[in-house]
């Protein structure tokens, strides 16, 4: 039986990434859904970049940025005593950037699909933007929120290129399940690779299945 540590680390990373992204994606998504100007388009492109860039490219630039030999990395080390390369925190930042579109896009579509009159009705009843967001908008885009959560989680579990570039493979710190599969195969330990791979496969299948079932139920309720 192989060491299960990489699996736990993967779950921890996916959970932290999902929580952080959920919090930062809601304001970004609502801004993108309701604003129309050139700057918005530029931000939209940045949010979508991780979809088209090879993960190794993102990992490479993050590695450069985090390296203590360069300005940003040196700044962090000097003022915050923080070294992001080959650390869990670095992995977390990398994952947040890499999975950003998977959280922002579903939520943005959810906002855009709501009738603008819902927002205006809430304003006309004297409710602030914040009250409107929490009591009217978010409760009415639950399927979109769930899709964002699940896709982000599953996508982070499946990360390989970015985490290998900036995290390396330090057991217990940065060695994730996807990296472990790769290393076991390289070492010709097919049995161990199979255990990791099968667990990831079953986990991903189960997560997506739960999401589809739940969304189907929500849709049924809305139609009735």
């Amino acid at each position: 039986m192989p060491d299960l540590q990489p699996l736990w680390l993967t779950l921890k990373l996916a959970l932290c990434t999902t929580i952080i992204l959920f919090i930062i994606a809601i304001p970004i998504a609502s801004w993108l859904a309701y604003k129309k100007n050139f700057f918005k388009t530029v931000v939209e492109v940045f949010v979508s970049l991780p979809l088209v860039l090879p993960p190794s490219v993102i990992g490479f630039y993050l590695l450069l940025a985090f390296s203590p030999a360069n300005f940003f990395g040196a700044f962090l080390e000097k003022h915050f005593d923080l070294r992001l390369v080959f650390s869990f925190e670095g992995l977390l930042i990398g994952s947040v950037i890499y999975s950003l579109p998977f959280m922002v896009h579903p939520i943005q579509s959810g906002f855009a699909a709501l009738s603008p009159a819902l927002r205006e009705a809430s304003y006309s009843l004297g409710k602030t933007k914040r009250q409107t967001l929490f009591k009217v908008l978010l409760p009415n885009i639950k399927p979109a929120l769930l899709t964002g959560l699940v896709l982000t989680f599953a996508h982070t579990v499946g990360e390989f290129g970015v985490v290998l570039m900036i995290g390396g493979s330090i057991p217990g710190q940065t060695k994730l399940a996807s990296v472990a599969v790769y290393e076991e195969v390289e070492a010709l330990n097919y049995h161990n690779a199979n255990v990791y791979a099968a667990i990831l496969l079953v986990l991903s299948f189960a997560i997506l299945l739960v999401m589809f079932l739940y969304n189907r139920r929500l849709q049924k309720i809305t139609i009735i």
């Binding site: 009738s115 009159a117 819902l118 205006e120 009705a121 809430s122 304003y123 006309s124 009843l125 004297g126 409710k127 602030t128 009591k135 009217v136 409760p139 009415n140 809305t222 139609i223 009735i224």
Partner: protein
């Protein structure tokens, strides 16, 4: 007294129009906003509510200035004391009937008004129902009750009755009038239904080619549109000497000479001076 002058360039399917309106509404009045579709009626309501910014002009409600282009005053909808009933009702699908109406309450408001409004609009038996399970007329009543909870200084209704059948429409007109009087509201209703306007209004704002004309005397309004409106319809069926024309409100069978070139589906104008009336 609510006074407004508003200027705005509107871009419609037929090109740009310059909207320039100037109206004053007495407190407690029921005012109808009448005009062809696409002429800017909804835009005026949206500018009054603060959902759309005018290019020039001002809005004054009593002592308060809601909007003043030169002084750069532009109150948000939250600060304007308005109630708005949307054409598609805009009810919150995540809430029940009672929650929708109660959503308008602020912390210190007396929640009794919600029960009272549900009672008056006949919604009490439906109070725990979800919005999706209601009929159009029921949703309409929820939207109306919700807009009145805060007893707004100005109630704005954007063609709320247009999607309902005649009987439902009559019932809701009566309800609207009753609520308007009971809560001493000042109301603006967008409508292109003349019978409805005459039944409900104290005054009419007629919007035409971007300009507004206000009639405090409904007879003058009726006279003005009697000359300007045409009776039009489309041909349903033509026989040798009769033609059936479907107008907005009725099916008319009129005698025609057989050589007149009329085809089914053709749009025609009927000469009103040739029609007879029977007691």
């Amino acid at each position: 007294m609510i006074y407004f002058t508003l200027g705005k360039t509107l871009f419609t399917a037929d090109g740009a129009t310059n909207l320039l309106v100037d109206c004053s509404i007495k407190k407690g009045d029921f005012v109808s906003l009448y005009g062809a579709s696409g002429v800017g009626k909804t835009s005026i309501l949206r500018m009054l509510a603060g959902f759309m910014e005018p290019e020039s002009g001002q809005i004054t409600a009593g002592e308060k200035v809601w909007y003043h282009q030169q002084k750069k005053i532009n109150y948000t909808p939250q600060k304007r004391s308005i109630g708005f009933v949307f054409q598609d009702y805009a009810l919150f699908p995540n809430m029940t009937v009672q929650e929708n109406i109660g959503f308008a309450l602020s912390k210190n408001d007396d929640p009794h008004i919600v029960t009272e409004l549900m009672e008056l609009t006949g919604l009490t038996p439906l109070q725990n129902r979800r919005i999706q399970t209601l009929s159009g007329g029921q949703q309409q009543r929820v939207a109306l009750a919700r807009a009145i909870v805060k007893k707004p200084g100005l109630l704005l209704l954007d063609e709320p009755l247009s999607a309902l059948d005649d009987e439902m429409r009559r019932q809701l007109q009566d309800m609207l009038l009753m609520l308007h009087k009971r809560y001493q509201l000042t109301t603006i209703l967008v409508s292109h239904h003349i019978a409805e306007i005459v039944k409900l209004s104290d005054s009419v704002i007629h919007l035409q080619d971007g300009q507004s004309t206000q009639y405090d005397d409904l007879d003058l309004f009726l006279q003005s549109i009697a000359f300007s409106t045409e009776l039009t319809g489309s041909v349903l069926k033509k026989t040798a000497n009769m033609v059936a024309v479907f107008t907005e409100h009725a099916l008319l069978e009129l005698p025609v000479s057989s050589d007149m070139a009329l085809k089914n589906g053709m749009n025609v104008t009927i000469d009103k001076s040739r029609l007879n009336i029977l007691p």
